[in-house]
């Protein structure tokens, strides 16, 4: 028995009751998941979007999409609703996250819990309940676009609060102290120190609010009484009512491109910035 054999045998004996995996092996389950539920469906979407209903190659789905003023308007309305929702969410969530992160109000995380807790309830149920509540209060009903945006903000606010709260609470307070030390007033401290340092939180918040808002047609149907159509609803109708999977896939592809661009714009790809700040 050589020395090498001996070491190997010893190692085996030591590992007898221990499970040991290499990093690659540990990645395997997720790799399978990824291939089955992400890559494969995505390839199917690409396939369907570039074929007609007999399976032949065709650009017709995209031509149909871009030649219809109604579809383009629907995309624009979806983007505008998503933009408005995102901006309102930032304006509402930033002060809240700031206060929660800085003051003693959030001792024990109770207040934060109140913001996250609605997420534990099924959102369809929440949307319907909120619609009835708003109707009773009398806020509901004067403009369907406003109603939809109210609904979207209500549903997606926690997704903005959480990343902002994480960034702000992790932020080194000495930057703010230094800024004050150096004579900056409160406004300048905020614009020159706090805000730039929390940009990564805003970016991940935007990613989590802007994109789902464009497709969340349950909210637009419930709060807009079916009078507001967003791109997600169009896609759904292609797959259910109109049995046109090809056109539906083409719409999903266009949406995909819009989302990639908006992610690039907000810098969500720069993972160094946002590390640990996502949900």
């Amino acid at each position: 028995m050589t020395e090498k054999d001996f070491i190997q045998e010893k190692a085996m004996r030591n590992n007898k009751f221990r499970l040991s995996f290499s990093r690659k092996q540990l990645c395997l389950p997720y790799g399978v998941f990824l291939a089955l539920f992400v890559v494969l469906p995505l390839l199917l979407i690409v396939f369907y979007s570039f074929t007609d209903k007999d399976g032949g190659f065709s650009f017709n789905n995209f031509i149909r999409f871009f030649s219809s003023a109604t579809t383009l308007t629907t995309v624009i309305i979806s983007v505008l609703i998503a933009l408005a929702t995102t901006i309102i969410c930032i304006l509402l969530a930033y002060p809240v996250a700031y206060i929660l992160a800085r003051s003693n109000l959030n001792r024990g995380g109770t207040l934060l819990l109140l913001f996250i807790m609605p997420m534990w309830i099924n959102f369809v149920l929440r949307a319907m309940a909120m619609k009835d509540l708003l109707t009773i209060i009398g806020v509901f009903g004067f403009n369907n676009y406003v109603n939809v945006i109210i609904g979207m903000v209500y549903d997606y606010l926690p997704f903005m609060v959480l990343p902002l709260y994480t960034v702000l609470s992790k932020m080194d307070k000495s930057y703010v102290e230094a800024s004050k030390d150096l004579g900056a007033n409160a406004f300048h401290t905020f614009t020159k120190a706090t805000l730039p340092l929390s940009m990564s939180g805003i970016a991940s918040g935007v990613t989590m609010v802007f994109m789902p808002t464009m497709t969340c047609y349950v909210i637009s149907d419930t709060f807009g009484n079916g009078l507001i159509t967003i791109i997600g609803k169009l896609i759904d109708e292609q797959f259910t009512t109109f049995q046109n999977w090809n056109l539906g896939s083409a719409m999903a592809m266009v949406l995909l491109v819009i989302m990639l661009v908006s992610m690039w714009v907000t810098g969500a790809f720069k993972s160094e910035d946002t590390r640990g700040n996502n949900l």
Binding site: I45, I76, L182, N225, T229, F239, T240, F242, N244
Partner: protein, 510 residues
């Protein structure tokens, strides 16, 4: 890069909720199991258990949301069920494409004896040619493929306080009353709203039409010109609408948010009962509540849709024994009665004696389905003065001479009665809507998209797109301004503001 890829893939996951249709392949070699797929909340599930106890056959029961979802499931995985319950137009589509098989009615004597001959006749007359599969090229009737389950109509449910009978006697009446603006909903389902549109566009043709064939032809018009007209009409009534809905309408009308809505008859019966404070509990007892408002149901005189749901057997299923046992079980009068009580819809099985008499909570004994349904639910003749009320003749449903089966109800209850049992004059004006072929669907898709969505002018679209692009560029520039403008900073000493402090101002050096 890998991280970017991961975040990209994570976003893609969020995009894929519509792709849940991947079924797993199941084969059913086991004849002691029957796989049934029905619409949600469309059966008294206690019956499934009784079937299992009686026959020893296990029921694997699942539900679907819409006919189209069921169709997708059958296309992706044809061997997933032994029995499914689609509507008549979907049965036609499935049969045309050779996805379902004919049933052997010699094994269904109980169903044959008790099904309404009138309805059976209408299904016998719905003929079409099969395009694919086992019966390719054959001319078949819808009734060869299905065992009837529930049927119904479509019409207005209205609040009698705000809407008059005249206004709902036609499809367009409510849209002429400005007081009802934003108080009306129509269906967020293209087939149903398309029919309403056709009825509005071809109102005069429909009123002039005297036979069912003509009405059926008009309500099945799908030429480009018809679709365009319907689109214009629906767009013109859209400002009057509170919204489009598929299941919130019954809630909204009870709450008073709306005063009229297009309803399927079973929903209509449910809404009227809820508003009247008579909601039946799951165990069959009535909950007496306060009457909130008086609702009624009206099927406009132009004509309407009549629909049928039925059990059909996918082509690949060979589980005949269990299937016929199940169909006979579900068509027994006492089980039909229970299902009608549970769902509020009306069965195609109308007759037959109960195995054992049913005694209701008031102590009335019913020996057959007719007594239980009509005498138990509707006949108010004892409470009415002579000459009051309406006498309605339902003999046509049973295929017996006129005036054999009649029911007398007050004027107020009439709407509730016809929601479940329309008279012969009414159903004679109701048309079965055919399945739209894929080319027609494309045309209707464009129309529906325009009706439901907004259409901006081209210049406005370009302007908004340009603005959004500018905004995006601005954000990118702002994010990278240090790189782009290559700003350097130097510290400049300035006068101290307070004694003992040194203020260092940072200035840009350009």
């Amino acid at each position: 890069m890998i991280k970017r890829l991961f975040s990209l893939l994570l976003v893609l996951v969020m995009l894929l909720p519509t792709f849940s249709a991947f079924g797993c392949t199941k084969t059913n070699g086991n004849t002691n199991v029957i796989r049934v797929c029905n619409c949600e909340d469309y059966i008294d599930e206690g019956l499934l258990l009784e079937f299992e106890q009686e026959t020893g056959i296990t029921v694997e029961y699942s539900t679907y949301g819409t006919n189209e979802n069921l169709y997708n499931e059958l296309v992706i995985n044809p061997n997933s069920y032994d029995l499914v319950v689609p509507s008549e137009y979907m049965i036609e589509k499935l049969a045309e494409e050779g996805r379902i098989q004919k049933l052997d009615f010699t094994k269904l004597s109980g169903y044959k004896a008790n099904v309404s001959p009138y309805i059976q006749n209408r299904l016998d007359n719905l003929k079409f040619t099969v395009k694919d599969g086992e019966y390719v090229g054959e001319e078949v009737a819808l009734s060869e493929f299905m065992v009837g389950y529930m049927w119904g109509t479509m019409g207005w449910v209205y609040n009698t306080e705000y809407v008059t009978k005249e206004e709902v006697s036609s499809w367009g009446g409510v849209f002429e009353n400005p007081a009802l603006s934003k108080k009306i909903t129509i269906k967020d389902a293209v087939r149903d709203s398309f029919l309403v549109g056709l009825a509005l566009v071809y109102k005069q043709d429909l009123i002039n039409a005297s036979d069912n064939a003509t009405i059926t032809e008009i309500l099945n018009r799908t030429q480009q010109i018809d679709v365009d007209r319907v689109g214009e009409k629906l767009s013109s009534i859209k400002p009057m609408l509170y919204g489009f809905e598929v299941d919130s309408g019954k809630n909204d009308i009870v709450l008073g948010n709306i005063n009229a809505y297009v309803a399927w008859s079973g929903d209509a019966a449910y809404a009227i009962d809820v508003a009247a404070g008579e909601v039946e509990d799951d165990d069959g007892t009535y909950l007496e509540g306060d009457s909130i408002r008086d609702l009624s149901y009206s099927i406009p005189q132009e004509g309407s849709n009549i629909w049928f749901d039925g059990f059909v057997m996918p082509s690949s299923s060979r589980n005949y024994d269990a299937v016929y046992k199940f169909l006979e079980f579900i068509s027994r009068p006492e089980n039909v009665y229970r299902n009608m009580n549970y769902t509020g819809y009306t069965s195609m099985v109308v007759g037959g004696d109960f195995a054992e008499p049913i005694i209701d909570e008031d102590g009335n004994t019913f020996n057959n389905l007719y007594d239980a349904v009509f005498l138990g639910w509707f006949d108010e003749s004892e409470d009415l003065e002579v000459g009051e009320g309406k006498t309605v003749d339902f003999s046509y449903l049973f295929g017996v001479p006129a005036n054999t089966y009649t029911v007398t109800v007050s004027e107020e209850s009439y709407g509730r009665l016809i929601a479940q049992y329309p008279t012969e004059d009414i159903v004679a004006r109701c048309a079965i809507m055919n399945n739209f072929d894929s080319d027609t669907l494309m045309v209707i898709n464009d129309m529906w998209e325009k009706v439901k969505g907004e259409t901006f002018d081209l210049w406005l679209i370009i302007l908004i797109v340009a603005l959004v692009v500018l905004l995006a560029i601005a954000i990118v520039v702002l994010r990278n301004k240090d790189k782009i403008f290559k700003t350097e900073f130097i510290a400049v000493q300035t006068k101290p503001r307070k004694k003992g402090y040194k203020v260092v101002k940072i200035e840009e050096l350009s």
